[in-house]
C-alpha cells in the first residue's frame, strides 16, 4: 500500500503549483485552471486522509463506516463545476467587450 505521506506530498505539490500558477500567470483561463488544480489538491488530501483514518485510526471505532472525506470530495466537485460555469461566463463576457482574457489588460477600475 502506498503510504499516506506520498499522497499528502503530492497534494501539497499540486496546491503549490496551483497557487503559484494563479499568482504568476496573467491569463484568466490559466488562473481558472490553477484554481481547479488547487481544489483538486484539497480533494486528494480529503480522500487520502479518509482512507488512512479508515485503515489506521477509526477502524474499530467506526467499523469502517466513516466516509466523510470521500463524500466531501464529491460535493466539492459539484460546487467546483458550478463555479467554473459562472467563471467562464464572466471571462466570456469580458472577452466580448474587451477582446482580451488577460487580467493585466483589464484595468478600467483603479485606485
Amino acid at each position: 500500500m502506498i503510504p499516506l505521506e506520498y499522497y499528502v506530498a503530492l497534494s501539497a505539490l499540486l496546491f503549490v503549483i496551483g497557487g503559484v500558477g494563479f499568482l504568476v500567470r496573467r491569463n484568466a483561463l490559466v488562473a481558472l485552471m490553477s484554481i481547479e488544480v488547487m481544489l483538486n489538491a484539497a480533494n486528494l488530501a480529503l480522500v487520502a486522509f479518509n482512507r488512512w483514518r479508515f485503515e489506521h485510526v477509526d477502524a474499530r471505532a467506526y467499523a469502517g463506516q466513516d466516509h466523510t472525506g470521500q463524500v466531501f470530495a464529491f460535493f466539492v466537485i459539484a460546487a467546483e463545476a458550478a463555479e467554473v460555469a459562472v467563471g467562464l461566463a464572466i471571462v466570456l463576457s469580458l472577452y466580448r467587450l474587451r477582446r482580451t482574457v488577460r487580467t493585466d489588460e483589464a484595468d478600467l477600475l483603479k485606485n
Binding site: 496551483g18 484554481i35 480529503l46 466523510t68 466539492v76 471571462v91 469580458l94 483589464a106 477600475l109 485606485n111
Partner: protein
C-alpha cells in the same frame, strides 16, 4: 414536521427562489429589445416579500424559542439552528429585501430589466443563511459557494459594461482562490483531527492535535480564506473593483448580506473550532493576527477612502473600513466571547442598514443614462432635492458613528468589548480611525449642502421610484430605531451571542 418549522426561514427563501425562477421563466413576456422583459417589477415585489417572509419566519421561531422545537438539534452539526443563526437569518433577509427593492427601482431605470437578478438575490441569500447556520466544513463550503457564485453573477449583471465584467472577473478569481485556500485548510484540519464538524475540530484542538503543524497550517489557511471573504486588508484588492463595477443594488447586497455571511462564518469558526484556551491566548493564538488585520484594514481603507473621486468607490472603501472595526470586536472575543460577539452582531446590523441605505440614496440621486457616481453629481443636491439629500445625510452620519444613530452604538459596543478585553492600544487606534473616517462622510454632506454644481455641468437628475423610497424608509426607520432605542436590539444580540459562543 417540527424540523420544517425550525428550518422555515431557509425553506421560505429556498422555495421562494425556485418559484420566482419559474415565474420569471414562464410568466414574463419578452420586451421590445431582445433579452429584456416588459415589466419585471412584479418580481421585485415577489423577491422582497419572500425575503421579508423569511425574516418574519426567523423572527417567529426566535420568539417561540428554537430550543423548544423538538428535532431542531437533530440537524447538528450540519446545520446548527440556534438564536445566532436566526439573528443572521433576519439580518440577511433584511439585507436581501433592501437590495431587491433597490433593484426594483434601479434595474428598469437603467435598462437592465432581466428577471434573473431577483432569483440570484434569493439564492445568494439562501447560501448566506446556510453559511450562517453551518456547523460543519461541508455545509460551510457549500453555503459559501452558493453565496459567492450568486454574488459573482450579480456583479457581472451589466453585460454591456466592461467595468462590470472586469469587476466580476477580479471578484471571481480572487474569491475562488480564497475558497480553494479555505477548502485546503479544512482538508488539512480533517487530516489532523479526523473531523469536519467545527465543534469536533474544536474539541480536538484542546488536545495534543491542536498544536500539531498540520493543524496550525490548516487553521491558518482557513482563516486566510475567511478574511479574503470579509475583505480585510491585505486581502481586500477585489472589493473596490467589484463594488464599483457591480450594479448598485448588487453592491448594496454585497456590502450588507455577503459581508454579514462572511462574518458569521468567521465567528463560527473562531468560537467553535479555535475557541480553546491556547488558540484564544494572545501569545499562541489568533488574537494578535486579528488585531493586526483590524488595524491595517481600518487605517488603509480610511486613508484611501478620502482620496476617492467616486462616491460609490468611497462607500466601497468605507465598507472595508467597517470590516476593520468589526475585526476589533472579533479580536475582543479572546477574553469574553459573549459580549464581543454581541457587539459584532449589533455592529453588523447597524452597519448593514446604514450602508444599504447609503447605496440606496446614491441610486436615488441618479437617473437613466446618468448615474450619480462622482462628488460633482451630488453637488447642491440639498437645494435640488432636499428629501434625497436628507436621507443620504442620515445614513452617512450613522456610518460616521455620530450619535444618536445606529452606527454610534455599534462602535460603542465593539470598542467597549475591546476595552474590557484589555485591548487599549487597539481601541485607541480604532477610535482615531473613526474620527478620520468621519472626514470623507462629511465631505459628501459638504458637497450636497454647501457646493453648487459647476455652471453648465451635466449633473445627475434624481430618479423617482416607489421601490427605492420604500427601501430607504425601511433602512432609515431601522437606523433611527437602533440608535434611539438600542436596548432591545442589544438584548437580542446578547441572547444570540450566548448560544453562538457556547455552541
Amino acid at each position: 414536521m417540527s424540523i420544517a418549522l425550525a428550518l422555515s426561514p431557509l425553506l421560505a427563501v429556498g422555495l421562494g427562489a425556485l418559484l420566482l425562477m419559474l415565474v420569471e421563466a414562464i410568466g414574463t413576456k419578452a420586451g421590445p429589445v431582445p433579452g429584456t422583459f416588459r415589466d419585471v417589477r412584479g418580481l421585485a415585489v415577489g423577491a422582497a416579500s419572500t425575503l421579508f417572509a423569511g425574516g418574519a419566519f426567523a423572527g417567529c421561531v426566535w420568539m417561540y424559542g428554537v430550543e423548544r422545537i423538538p428535532g431542531a438539534a437533530s440537524l447538528a452539526p450540519w446545520l446548527i439552528l440556534d438564536p445566532f443563526t436566526l439573528f443572521f437569518d433576519v439580518l440577511l433577509c433584511l439585507g436581501g429585501a433592501i437590495a431587491a427593492l433597490l433593484a426594483g427601482g434601479y434595474m428598469p431605470e437603467h435598462g437592465l430589466e432581466r428577471g434573473e437578478f431577483y432569483a440570484l438575490i434569493l439564492f445568494t441569500t439562501f447560501g448566506a443563511m446556510v453559511l450562517a447556520a453551518a456547523g460543519d466544513a461541508l455545509t460551510l463550503f457549500l453555503g459559501l459557494e452558493t453565496m459567492s457564485i450568486g454574488a459573482y453573477a450579480m456583479t457581472a449583471f451589466r453585460r454591456a459594461s466592461a467595468r462590470s465584467a472586469e469587476g466580476a472577473l477580479k471578484y471571481f478569481l480572487l474569491g475562488s482562490f480564497a475558497a480553494a485556500i479555505l477548502l485546503y485548510g479544512f482538508a488539512l484540519l480533517y487530516g489532523a483531527t479526523g473531523h469536519t464538524d467545527l465543534a469536533g475540530i474544536g474539541s480536538a484542538a484542546r488536545q495534543a492535535a491542536g498544536r500539531s503543524p498540520l493543524f496550525i497550517l490548516g487553521a491558518a489557511f482557513v482563516l486566510v480564506g475567511i478574511v479574503f471573504k470579509v475583505s480585510a486588508v491585505p486581502f481586500h484588492a477585489w472589493t473596490p473593483d467589484a463594488y464599483e463595477g457591480a450594479p448598485t443594488p448588487a453592491t448594496a447586497y454585497m456590502a450588507v448580506a455577503v459581508k454579514a455571511g462572511a462574518f458569521a462564518m468567521l465567528l463560527r469558526v473562531l468560537t467553535l473550532s479555535l475557541g480553546s484556551p491556547a488558540w484564544t491566548s494572545w501569545a499562541s493564538g489568533w488574537p494578535p493576527v486579528m488585531a493586526t488585520l483590524a488595524l491595517l484594514t481600518m487605517t488603509y481603507a480610511n486613508l484611501v477612502a478620502g482620496r476617492q473621486e467616486s462616491v460609490k468607490r468611497m462607500l466601497a472603501y468605507s465598507s472595508i473600513a467597517h470590516a476593520g472595526y468589526v475585526l476589533v470586536g472579533v479580536t475582543a472575543m479572546m477574553r469574553d466571547p459573549k459580549q464581543a460577539v454581541a457587539g459584532v452582531l449589533y455592529y453588523l446590523v447597524a452597519y448593514g442598514v446604514s450602508t444599504g441605505g447609503a447605496f440606496g440614496a446614491l441610486i436615488l440621486c441618479g437617473s437613466r443614462g446618468r448615474e450619480a457616481v462622482s462628488y460633482e453629481d451630488i453637488a447642491g443636491l440639498g437645494k435640488r432635492n432636499p428629501a434625497v439629500a436628507l436621507a443620504f445625510s442620515l445614513f452617512l452620519v450613522s456610518l460616521a458613528g455620530i450619535p444618536p444613530m445606529a452606527g454610534f452604538f455599534g462602535k460603542w459596543l465593539v470598542f467597549r468589548a475591546a476595552i474590557d478585553a484589555g485591548l487599549y492600544k487597539l481601541t485607541a487606534l480604532a477610535f482615531l480611525n473613526s474620527v478620520v473616517g468621519a472626514y470623507y462622510y462629511l465631505r459628501v454632506l459638504v458637497y450636497m449642502y454647501m457646493r453648487e454644481p459647476a455652471a453648465g455641468a451635466v449633473t445627475a437628475a434624481p430618479m423617482r421610484s416607489g421601490f427605492v423610497v420604500t427601501a430607504l424608509v425601511v433602512s432609515a426607520v431601522l437606523v433611527l430605531a437602533l440608535g434611539l432605542t438600542p436596548t432591545s436590539y442589544i438584548d437580542a444580540a446578547m441572547s444570540a451571542a450566548g448560544v453562538g459562543a457556547s455552541g
